[in-house]
Symmetry: C2
C-alpha cells in the first residue's frame, strides 16, 4: 500500500508548484495585471461585440497547459469582452472600480487560507473582521450592541437582515400571509428576492407612494400602516433606501424611524449603495436618521471601491442576529470554548467562507480613511457638476436633483417618441465603447443614468462624458 | 466647483498607487506569501496560545501606514494564531489546503473586477463559470438540463438547493407545519440551518435511523415516509450525505433515490465533502446513485483543495433553479438581451458577486484533472492506511471502516472514563501544535477524527501523526 501511495503522490505533484515555479507563475500574472491596469486610462469601458466564445474550444484538460496560454484565453475571452468595471469611464449601474490593495488582500487570504468563520480556528481573522464591522458601526452611529457580517455582497447581506427581522418579529410560517412589508417602487429588487428566499413570498408588499424626488411619502406610509392594522394585518418591516439604485434618492429616514418606533416595526435600511457616503460631511448630513434603524446593509464593494465580493450587514441588537444564525454540531465541539469574540458562523448564513476581511483591511490600512472621505466628496461634486452641465445643454432634461452620485437625464428629440430615442441613445453610447452608461425608467419615462462611483473617475472623465453624450444625442437627432 | 473637485482628487490619490508603487506592494506581499509557504513543511499546524489581541492596538487609521507594518500585524496576529489550514499536518474538520494558483486567480479577479453575475456585463466570465459547472455536472453524471452555481461555500449552496426544492414542491408558508424532511443524525448542520433560513423552521424533521456504519437505514426511511403519508403529512425532501462530516459515510444513494422517485420526493444530496471523489475510480464506485438526485452540493474548497470561498450547487432541472432565483428591475433593463448563457444572478441568491470561477479554473487548467484524480486516490489510501495502522496499536479502537478520507478512533484507557480520556487526548494533541486533529461524538462515544484532505498531506505526515498519537496516548495513560 505504501508504494501505491507514493506513486499517487508523484502523480499529483503538479498541485504543489515549488518556490521557483510559484515565482514564475506570479511574475506572469503580475505582468498581466500591470498591463491591464496601465491600459485603463485609454482602454474601452465596454466591448459589446465579444462574447468569450473562444473559451468553448478549451475545455478543462486532463493534462495541464502553460500559464501563458491560460492568460491569453483570459485576455481574449474575458477581460476584453463586455463591460470593464475597472475603467474610469464605467458610469453604469453602481460602479466602484476595484482597489488594487484588495487584490493583494485576496491573494494573501487564499495563500494563507485562514478559516475566518470561527474564533477558535482563527482568532486573529475573526477579530479583524469584527474590528472592521465595529468601525462601520461607529461611522454610521450604531451602538456598541451591534454585530454584523461581511457578506459576499448586498443580496446575502439583505437576506441576513431580513431573516433576522423575520425571526425577531416572530413572523412564523402560519402568519406570513397577513404580514406586511413596506417598500417603494425604488426599493432594490434584492430586497424582494431576499423576502422570497426567506419563505415570505406570500407576505403582503405595500408599495408606498413616492414624492417628486422618488422618496418614500411618509404620510402615505403612516396611513398605510394604520389601515393595515385596522384590517387585521400585521405590519412588521419597513425597508427605506439610503441611496436608491435608480436615482440615488434617500428616503426621509428620521420620519420613517419615528413611525417604525411608534408602531414597533423593524426598520431595515438599504444603504448598500449609499451608507458609506457618511464618511464625508455632505453625505453624513444627508444620511441622518440611518443610525435609528434596526439593521443596515452597506457594501464595501460599492462605495468603498472594493472589487466585487464584499457586502455587509449590521444589526443593532447582536443577540437578534445570533438567535437567527447560531447552530451547533458534534463535530464542532472543539470550537465552543473561549469566546473573546462572536464568530461569523454564528452571525450569518455561511459557515466555511472566504476571509473577506483582508480585502477591506489592506486598502483601509494602506491609505487611511482620509482619501476615502475625499474620494466620496469628489464623487458627489462630480455628479452635481454633471447634472448642472447637462441640464444647461439644449434638448436635455434632467431627473430629480441628485441626493448622492447618480444623475438621470434624457434628450427630448425634435420629433418622434422620446423613450424610443433615448433607448437608441443609450445603445449608441454603449456601442461607442468609450463610456458606459446604463438606463432605467422613472415612471413611464425612459432615462439615462450617470453613476459616478469608480474611484478612478475624475473631472476629465466627466468632461469627456458630457462631450460624448451631447455629441451623440445631436447626431442621432439629426438622423431621426 | 472645478477647483474643489480637483483638490479632492489630489486628496484621494493614495487610492490609486502608480505602477512603481504597485510593483513595490506586490513584491512585499509576494515575499510574505513565499515565506509563509516555504515554512509550511516544518511550521506548526496550530497555535492555541495566540489570539490576535495585538490587532486591537491598531485601529483603522485616518492616515495610512506602510505595507511592512501591515504585514507584521498580519504575521503576528493572524497567520501565527489558531489553526493553520494550509499545513500538511492539518487533519481536522474537512481539510483542503488551498492551491496556490487559486490565489493567483483571486488576485486577477480582483484586479480586473469583472462582473460575473450577468452575461451582458461579462459574457466571458459567465461562460467560464457555466463551463466549470457543466464540467462538474459531467463528472457526477448529471444530464445536460443541469444548471448550477458557484457559491461562497457549502452553506449558501445548500440554501440554494433547498429553496429550489421548497418552491418546486410548492411548500407554501401555510403548509410548512405538515411538510416533512428526512435526515439522519449525521446530516451536516448547514442543512438544518438552510431549512431555517428558508422559512421552513417549523417543518417536521424526521431523523431516520442509521446502520452500524452511520448510513441511513433505507427500510426505516421507507417506513417513515409511509407512516407520515398515512398521518396526512407531506413528505417532500430527503437529504442523504455523500460523505458525512462526522465519519465520511455515504448513505445508500441508489436505494434512497428509488424511494424518492416512488414517492415523488425531492432528493438533495450533500456531497459538499464527498462528491469530488467521483474523480478517482474508487470514489466513483462508492458514489454510485449520486447522479439520480434532483440537486447536489459539492465544494471545490474541500475536495478540490481550493482555499476557502467556493462551494457549488447543481440542480438537475435548470428551470427549477431559475424559477426560484430570477428577478427583474428597471435599472437592469439593458441586461436582458442576448442570452447565450444563463446568468448566475438568475440562478442564485446573489446579484453582484466575486468572480469565483478564476480561482477554480486556474488550478484546473494549469495542472489538468489528472493530478486531482491521483491526489484524491492518495487521500483515500492514506486514510485506509491510517485506519489499519491505528487499529493495530494496543489500546486503540476504531470507528466504522472509512468510506472516504475520514477515520475515527479512540483510546481505551486502562482505568477511568474513556470519553474524558479522549477529550484530554485531543486537547494534548492540539496543544502540541505539530498536528491538528478534531473530535466528535458517535452516539455517546467521544472519538477523535483524522481527516486526510490537505493536498500537501502525504505518507510521511501520516506516519508522523501515527507516532505522535500513539506516543501522546500512552503518556497520558501512564499519568492517569
Amino acid at each position: 500500500m505504501r508504494k501505491q501511495i507514493e506513486l499517487l503522490r508523484r502523480q499529483s505533484s503538479r498541485l504543489e508548484p515549488d518556490a521557483a515555479e510559484r515565482e514564475r507563475l506570479l511574475a506572469a500574472v503580475s505582468e498581466y495585471a500591470q498591463q491591464f491596469l496601465n491600459q485603463l486610462p485609454d482602454g474601452p469601458a465596454y466591448a459589446g461585440d465579444r462574447t468569450g466564445k473562444g473559451l468553448l474550444d478549451s475545455p478543462i484538460p486532463e493534462t495541464g497547459i502553460g500559464i501563458e496560454s491560460i492568460l491569453s484565453l483570459l485576455s481574449e475571452n474575458i477581460d476584453t469582452a463586455g463591460i470593464n468595471p475597472a475603467s474610469p469611464r464605467f458610469l453604469g449601474y453602481i460602479p466602484g472600480g476595484g482597489l488594487y490593495p484588495s487584490a493583494l488582500g485576496d491573494f494573501l487570504a487564499a495563500v494563507t487560507n485562514r478559516y475566518a468563520g470561527i474564533f477558535f480556528a482563527s482568532p486573529g481573522a475573526v477579530r479583524l473582521e469584527n474590528m472592521l464591522l465595529s468601525w462601520m458601526a461607529e461611522i454610521v452611529g450604531y451602538p456598541s450592541s451591534t454585530a454584523g457580517n461581511l457578506a459576499s455582497g448586498g443580496s446575502i447581506a439583505h437576506l441576513t437582515g431580513i431573516v433576522t427581522a423575520r425571526d425577531a418579529c416572530d413572523i412564523a410560517a402560519t402568519r406570513v400571509q397577513t404580514a406586511v412589508v413596506y417598500l417603494t417602487t425604488q426599493t432594490h429588487h434584492a430586497v424582494d428576492k431576499a423576502v422570497r428566499i426567506a419563505g415570505l413570498g406570500n407576505c403582503v408588499r405595500r408599495i408606498v407612494p413616492v414624492d417628486g424626488r422618488y422618496r418614500m411619502d411618509v404620510t402615505a406610509l403612516a396611513q398605510a400602516i394604520a389601515a393595515d392594522k385596522k384590517a387585521g394585518l400585521q405590519p412588521w418591516l419597513i425597508v427605506p433606501s439610503a441611496g436608491s439604485t435608480n436615482t440615488g434618492s434617500i428616503d426621509p429616514l428620521p420620519a420613517i424611524a419615528e413611525i417604525a418606533t411608534k408602531h414597533n416595526l423593524w426598520l431595515h435600511v438599504d444603504g448598500a449603495y449609499g451608507a458609506f457616503f457618511v464618511l464625508c460631511p455632505e453625505g453624513k448630513q444627508k444620511l441622518q436618521g440611518m443610525e435609528l434603524s434596526d439593521s443596515l446593509v452597506m457594501d464595501p464593494h460599492k462605495t468603498l471601491f472594493l472589487p466585487y465580493g464584499t457586502g455587509a450587514v449590521l444589526v443593532r441588537d447582536a443577540q437578534r442576529l445570533h438567535a437567527s444564525f447560531s447552530a451547533e454540531a458534534d463535530y464542532m465541539q472543539d470550537t465552543i470554548h473561549r469566546l473573546d469574540e462572536l464568530s461569523s458562523a454564528d452571525l450569518s448564513p455561511e459557515l466555511t467562507k472566504h476571509f473577506r476581511g483582508l480585502r477591506l483591511w489592506l486598502p483601509l490600512m494602506l491609505a487611511g480613511v482620509a482619501p476615502f472621505r475625499a474620494a466620496l466628496a469628489e464623487k458627489l461634486l462630480l455628479t452635481r457638476y454633471f447634472y448642472e452641465q447637462i441640464r444647461a445643454v439644449d434638448g436635455f432634461h434632467v431627473g430629480p436633483e441628485p441626493d448622492l452620485a447618480v444623475a438621470t437625464f434624457w434628450y427630448e428629440p425634435p420629433r418622434g417618441d422620446a423613450n424610443a430615442f433615448n433607448a437608441r441613445l443609450v445603445q449608441e453610447l454603449q456601442n461607442s465603447g468609450r463610456i458606459f452608461l446604463s438606463s432605467t425608467r422613472l415612471g413611464e419615462r425612459f432615462v439615462l443614468r450617470v453613476a459616478v462611483g469608480v474611484f478612478r473617475t475624475h473631472l476629465d472623465t466627466i468632461d469627456e462624458a458630457l462631450e460624448i453624450i451631447t455629441h451623440t444625442a445631436r447626431n442621432l437627432a439629426q438622423k431621426s
